[in-house]
Amino acid sequence: MAHKDSKGSGGDVAPFLQIKRIVKKFDDVFAVDEVSLDIAQGEIFALLGSSGCGKSTLLRMLAGFEAPTSGQILLAGQDIVGLAPYERPINMMFQSYALFPHLTVWDNVAFGLHREGMPKNQIEERVTQMLDLVQLKPYSKRKPHQLSGGQQQRVALARSLAKRPKLLLLDEPLGALDAKLRQRTQLELVDIIEQVGVTCVMVTHDQEEAMTMATRIGVMSEGKILQIGQPAEIYETPNCLFVADFIGTVNIFKGQVEVDEPDHVVIASADCKHYVSHGITGTRGMGVHVAVRPEKMSIQTETVQDADRESPAEVGFNQAQGVIEDLAYLGSLTTYHVRLDGGSVVKVTHTNAARHGSSAMTWGDRVYVWWCGSDVVVLTR
């Protein structure tokens, strides 16, 4: 997770980057459907979504490669929609790196500076600085095809930072790297970006990438932004079924509101009754989804003790019985797939805290699954 204090969207200063009701239509399809965003200076903002959700189109509109059908984009107060890509104080790191094959590493990084008309000695200073930042100084005379994938990425980064842009755009920055390199690079990348202090908008389909690198995440689907928030918010408090399902794994119960009080709600579903220890905006009889994360559930072969519960009101709620249908032993934890008596299959993640679990549960065992009312998220859409 990025260590910077995340500045939220509030505050009296106008946000650094304001995206106002941007729409992009291709023929009859809305690639981007009325998106509005405020991004603070110094933030690393991630647009997260699967292919075709519109995140790449939005990024390209920020870069200037697509013109919005309608809407405004204000960067430090200036509307940049009418500006060509080469007129914007924005630089982009492409997914394929797009390093110029016929130029050396040095010339690649210096390219933008030459276009600016920067004096020779200043260019030399700046390029050296950038190459030192990414630790590629000894490779400055090489051409892109003489570098490995990770090295190419660092050159691309240095090149996109060389002009000290007001906004840095990252297009699936780690997509082209293999898994091991990806983890290490994620943190390195964030370090460099924070060191430079540039505001950053990145686009990715990889939630781990978004959660690790971003200060705030915007989840996108079908051209719309579904939820914006810090990684923890998105994970623990998804505002709709799509977001809950998209991020991490989750157990979803479909049910109806039975009791609707300002301080607690009871929802009946096929497997059990859910006691939620907070109120919701809804009415009795309303159809809702209940989401519980696998790590919030407890699994045991013994019956659930009343004393284990958070509050006496929860006794009898938020629990179900079932049979272990499948399990995946992953060393530090085990994921159990339990078929509840009511019919649904839930996933429960259990940390293997003890070396030899006294009650080592296995396939076919009859178990109890339970969780706390405060760990439940009710999704009304």
């Binding site: 399809v29 690639a31 189109t57 490669f65 890509p85 297009d171």
Partner: protein
């Protein structure tokens, strides 16, 4: 990045400025309109003009306060009346079709084997196919004259070896013409076929074999249909120019092989009858317009396919 993320007109279309776009498209467009399209219109106009001693008369003229539009469609009538022209058109199409078929029969297995040969050897093998193409086509056609003549190399060798008692009549026959045509156009058939076959995913064949097809069945049911666009492209690249071929029939053809290109040449250079030559040309274009449209469609498809 998904396909949706890119609009149809790239950044150039938006930010090149109107003059940039006009220049880049305009210069070749104007050139083509003037040098390709306009001549066709002129040909059509001349085909309905009257021929004067050296030049053709204008269609429109003013005489005695009367505007006269002289539209001589008579040329086209003679085209239909005189059996010569009809025979020439028919024979051109027939010979072009035979040439295309033979080229396909020779080129397809060749392209197939070439595409399946080890990758390191392919560039060299391909270059060996292209090399004759780079040497003058005129010279290569002439070579067949040398080989097939009554006193030519083949006959001399055959007589010397005792295989024949007198020279075989091979020259100036439909046989020599077709040999020359096939020889010239086979590379044009090989290249599109090869380009198509080499890109084919071999795993499709493996899947077919895995599902119980014999290699022969896999070939006919998978390989051939997938190479359809290559077959069409190659066939068009051979058939259309063959219809109007002139040089090869002139050097290797004979009295039995009447080709329309030759007729056109004779009308123009021989009879000096420009309107007649023009009407022959117009009808020739009419004949090839459908294959031509097919070819253009294929080119457009391969352009857009390459983009995605």
């Amino acid at each position: 990045m998904t396909a949706l993320a890119r609009s149809n007109n790239t950044i150039y279309a938006r930010f090149m400025g109107p003059w940039g776009r006009y220049v880049v498209i305009g210069v070749p467009m104007v050139f083509l309109l003037l040098v390709f399209l306009l001549p066709f219109l002129v040909v059509f106009k001349i085909s309905v003009s009257e021929m004067e001693t050296v030049y053709f008369k204008d269609l429109l003229s003013v005489k005695d306060d009367l505007v006269v539009l002289a539209f001589k469609y008579g040329n086209y009538i003679s085209l239909t009346h005189d059996a010569l022209y009809f025979k020439a058109y028919l024979s051109s199409i027939k010979i072009a079709a035979i040439t295309t078929a033979i080229c396909l029969a020779i080129a397809y297995p060749f392209a197939y084997f070439l595409a399946r040969s080890p990758a390191e050897r392919r560039p060299a093998l391909l270059m060996l196919v292209m090399l004759p193409f780079w040497t003058s086509f005129l010279l290569r056609v002439y070579a067949w004259k040398m080989l097939l003549a009554d006193a030519g190399v083949f006959n001399n060798v055959a007589i010397a070896l005792g295989l024949a008692s007198e020279p075989l009549k091979m020259m100036n026959t439909p046989f020599s013409l077709v040999v020359g045509m096939v020889y010239t156009y086979v590379p044009f058939m090989i290249l599109p076929l090869y380009a198509n076959l080499v890109k084919m995913d071999l795993r499709l064949l493996e899947a077919a074999l895995d599902l119980g097809a014999t290699p022969w069945q896999a070939f006919w049911r998978i390989t051939v249909p997938l190479s359809k666009s290559g077959i069409i492209a190659g066939s068009m690249l051979v058939f259309i120019p063959c219809v109007g071929e002139f040089v090869i029939p002139e050097l290797l053809g004979g009295p039995e092989t009447l080709m329309i290109g030759h007729v056109l040449w004779d009308e123009f250079f021989g009879n000096n009858d420009w309107p007649m030559a023009a009407s022959v040309a117009v009808v020739m274009v009419g004949l090839i317009i459908i294959p031509l449209a097919l070819f253009n469609k294929y080119q457009a498809e391969s352009t857009s396919a390459a983009k995605s």
